[in-house]
């Protein structure tokens, strides 16, 4: 499980994770797909399904196009109570480093704040990621949020 990586690559990786969290926490949904490759996989899956080998995920997208459709849905088609979300992401844990390709795991907690309400812990787990170097910089080829949280508090509208 050890992996070596140069300082510059490590810095770029940290920057990617920080920028990703900053973008989704700011609600910049149109920018969110730009963190991914065209044929990316994006999933938010209960830990239960992950560990039992069940393929179902709460969100399961297989292309940047699907992410764009979700971004459109948030703005135009999904009626919801607006909320802020705030990611606290642990340091990425590098599982494997190949030339221009990294397998990474990172713990995360997302807090939700609904208007006029108290802040609550919304979703907690880890992400299992594949990051690849593209001409435009590092992109996620795969982002899977495996969540410990046993219940989704009513609904999940925004991407983790």
């Amino acid at each position: 499980m050890s992996a070596a990586i140069g300082f510059e690559d490590w810095q770029a990786l940290i920057q990617l994770y920080a920028d990703y969290a900053g973008t989704v926490d700011a609600g910049h949904w149109e920018q969110w797909p730009e963190f991914f490759t065209d044929d990316c996989v994006y999933r938010v899956q209960p830990r239960e399904n992950h560990e039992r080998g069940f393929p179902l995920a709460t969100l399961s997208f297989e292309s940047k196009g699907m992410l764009k459709d979700r971004a459109y849905g948030i703005r135009e088609t999904l009626f919801h109570d607006p909320y802020y979300q705030r990611h606290v992401v642990g340091l990425p844990r590098l599982l494997r480093a190949d030339e221009g390709r990294y397998e990474v795991e990172a713990n995360y907690a997302v807090f939700r704040t609904k208007l006029s309400q108290l802040t609550t812990v919304y979703n907690v787990g880890r992400s299992l990621d594949v990051v690849v170097r593209m001409p435009a910089g590092l992109k996620f080829a795969r982002r899977e949020f495996i969540y410990d949280s046993e219940m989704i508090p009513n609904s999940m509208i925004y991407p983790l």
């Binding site: 938010v44 209960p46 239960e48 399904n49 039992r52 069940f54 393929p55 179902l56 995920a57 709460t58 969100l59 399961s60 997208f61 297989e62 292309s63 940047k64 196009g65 699907m66 764009k68 459709d69 459109y72 849905g73 135009e76 088609t77 999904l78 009626f79 919801h80 109570d81 046993e150 219940m151 989704i152 508090p153 009513n154 609904s155 999940m156 509208i157």
Partner: protein
Amino acid sequence: MNAPIPRAELAASTMNWERGTSRIPFAVYNDPALHKQELQRFFYERHWCYVGLEAEIPKPGDYKRTEIGERSVILVRALDGAIHVVENACAHRGVAFCRARHGNAQAFVCPYHQWNYALDGRLRGVPMRHGVKRDGVVQGGMPADFNFADHGLTRLKVAVRGGVVFASFDHDVEAFEDFVGPAVLRYFDRLFDGRQLKILGYNRQRIPGNWKLMQENIKDPYHPGLLHTWFVTFGLWRADNRARMVMDGHHRHAAMISTRGNAGAVSEVSRVSSFKQAMNLHDPRFLDIVPEAWWNGPTAVMTTLFPSVILQQQVNSVSTRQIVPDGHGHFDFVWTHFGFEDDTPEMTRRRLRQANLFGPAGFVSADDGEVIEFSQETFEAKPAHRTLAELGGDEVADTDHMVTETLIRGMYRYWREVMAR
């Protein structure tokens, strides 16, 4: 067992209705005493409740922990292959001993004093039953007349049909087929036609609203083409589709049957802000719909079995949605998505892709939980008021269109009959 709540304790407002059952008092959603009585009368007596799918416990010894109402139960396949449902409550001092959500066991053992039960709930072993000998004298032990047969786990009556398992605490409950009734059973059998089911996985959400609101949501064909842009824009569910609303003889269960048409077409129903004629998907695979032979026409059939479950067919996406109340103001909603043994890998992928429309994050169902939450907010704040469910009048009858709230009125006609008993 929860003792029945005396009638006098129920708020008078919960039984004071205007115009048949078309105006539902907010009080029926926010009264803790009423809720306890509902648990007793709908979940613990005279009704069959959903507990799971046979495919979840394929091997002898497999079990799954779940709930009926607010009571914990275990669905288990015994070593001889028979299916049992037992209450997760030790006969000794009540410990809810089963903590894993699923697993495989030869027996159930309560950790507190190690009472041991067979998988069908029969008591098999009680430590120190005959006392403990010290200095040649036997000390303690259970009374001589202690009878194992009297102290098993509570065993439920079980019905299995088409691979779906229902259970009842009430051993005098009518046969499952009579409970569902022929009109709705037809649609149950259409989905569960004997093919082996394949579990695709679970989604779990906690919705801050009264449990009946979820039954109402799936007895409400009015909202999908209005609240859900995807339904109206892509023609999956809109008021000008061919549709039928069908109830059982007691009006407690229902099927909403609809056939897709009119995608993108402009008509009366598209003059709503949720209709987006120009909307195009970046990735149309979300709606890569392939008709299946077993549909026999309808592209969507949503079946409500009162009180505990919703059976979903929306094009290629099929699931059960279990309602687990937790007090009058919350319920857990457990989705089990599945496929069939003869599904090709492409069909499995298609079902999984279309699952993005449903569940707690679904393009067309995330917002159902939201509106239920907002309804409950008002019910709590303004208990003396009432809802209005008068689309199509105040009649209760099957229809051949979806511009009606008749199924909701039917459900409350039944609810009143049972609660007034």
